[in-house]
């Protein structure tokens, strides 16, 4: 089977996610006797390796022979961020002299320590090439990554989580995507709350203040995504969620909802931050610090 993702640059936007979903639709019925050749676009936002790798992992599990047909510049990105070597393609990793890539990685959901090590290794002002950020921004951003990863571990009911990122130095932007092939927001919410929400409605439900599927339990929840959204708004960043055919985007104070004609088989969360933000407080500052309890 020979498939093209399309020549146009593949970016972290609705169109980019749609093309990943279309790819999945075309290849999901391939069986282990088939070979797959994918014509890659002329440019590829490297954080999109997370959903792309998740889709390809489904075929790897079937031992499908996969070839990626890339221009040199895309091949280089996929070697620098370890995507090609990790997937078993016959391509060695190469050093990232511009320090613009963040390693593609597939995590086991039971291995929190590995993700902690990954964040420590790649996100710190002492990391070579890491864009200089205020300590406060870095702390809040790292917290956001842990919140999203933790959500996937707790809610997705799957075995692996895929992650990848990219710095865009000229634009003072950092994008990081965390992906799972789980039951989706609607699968989790409808099952636990006895509701009948579509994927898009489920994202909206989850983003409402104080919503959580942890009802009847002993541990409250439901704050993580809201806190990230609040931080993103103050930072002038962007946050995107894809779950099955539902799409949610928040940027510049505006929420955009949409649907795809087919499903992504899981959930993608992409966080984009403005690395030049030197603010000290990122969350609601009208807090009575003397009366926390």
């Amino acid at each position: 089977m020979h498939i093209s993702i399309g020549e146009e640059s593949l970016k972290s936007d609705y169109s980019g996610f749609k093309r990943i979903i279309n790819l999945h639709q075309q290849i999901k019925t391939i069986n282990s006797e088939d070979k797959l050749i994918v014509d890659m676009p002329l440019w590829f936002d490297a954080n999109m390796c997370a959903p792309f790798g998740a889709i390809l992992s489904i075929l790897s599990n079937k031992n499908v022979d996969i070839t990626l047909d890339c221009q040199d510049q895309v091949m280089e990105i996929l070697q620098k961020n370890q995507f090609l070597p990790k997937f078993g393609f016959d391509k060695l990793s190469i050093p990232d002299d511009y320090d613009s890539t963040i390693e593609y990685f597939q995590f086991d959901v039971n291995d929190d320590n590995n993700f902690k090590k990954y964040v420590e290794t790649h996100f710190g002002n002492n990391v070579h090439g890491f864009p200089k950020m205020s300590q406060e921004l870095l702390r809040i951003f790292r917290g956001s990554l842990y919140e999203v990863f933790g959500n996937s571990v707790f809610h997705s009911e799957t075995n692996h989580i895929f992650a990848c990122g990219q710095y865009f130095y000229l634009q003072n932007r950092l994008d990081f995507s965390i992906v799972d092939l789980g039951i989706g927001f609607h699968g989790n919410i409808n099952e636990k709350m006895n509701l009948h929400l579509s994927p898009k409605e489920a994202i909206v439900w989850a983003m409402e203040e104080n919503q959580t599927t942890k009802k009847g339990g002993t541990v409250p929840g439901g704050l993580g995504l809201k806190l990230i959204k609040e931080f993103i708004e103050k930072n002038n960043g962007k946050m995107q969620i894809v779950t099955y055919n539902g799409y949610w985007e928040f940027s510049k104070g505006r929420t955009i909802l949409n649907t795809f004609s087919s499903n992504f088989p899981g959930t993608i969360v992409n966080i984009e931050i403005n690395t030049a933000d030197s603010s000290y407080y990122f969350l609601e500052s009208e807090t009575d610090y003397e009366n926390i309890f």
């Binding site: 898009k200 959580t212 929840g221 407080y281």
Partner: protein
């Protein structure tokens, strides 16, 4: 007899990265025991490098299922916590209070949300 105890979060978790449910449970177990003994508790977040609401929900939020608000307020205090983290803690605490007071809140909000849809 000294009725005050200081709990160092990093020591309790065994890590300065305090982010998972399991990390939070380690702290919760210590606080829960101390509260059950009627101790005054100072929770120190000294040297914590990373924090999440998930951790705080487990470490502190779930205390509100075992003890009433007034008792916790009289016994608990925090120290060595950056302002952004204190904002998260305050939100966790307020969320915990409503969680244990009104478990059916989510149903009413879900019904309201289903009628709200905006897009391209």
């Amino acid at each position: 007899m000294n009725n005050e105890v200081k709990i160092n979060v990093v020591k309790a978790v065994g890590d300065s990265i305090c982010v998972t449910d399991e990390d939070g449970k380690k702290v919760y177990d210590i606080i829960n025991d101390a509260l059950s003994d009627g101790k005054n508790i100072i929770i120190s977040f000294d040297d914590v490098t990373d924090l999440t609401s998930a951790f705080l929900n487990n470490a502190i939020g779930q205390l509100y299922g075992n003890f009433d608000e007034a008792f916790i307020k009289s016994k608990l205090s925090v120290t060595d916590m950056p302002k952004n983290d204190m904002v998260i803690l305050k939100r966790v605490v307020d969320r915990a209070k409503s969680f244990f007071d009104d478990p059916d809140h989510y149903i009413r909000v879900a019904n309201a949300v289903l009628g709200d849809d905006s897009g391209y």
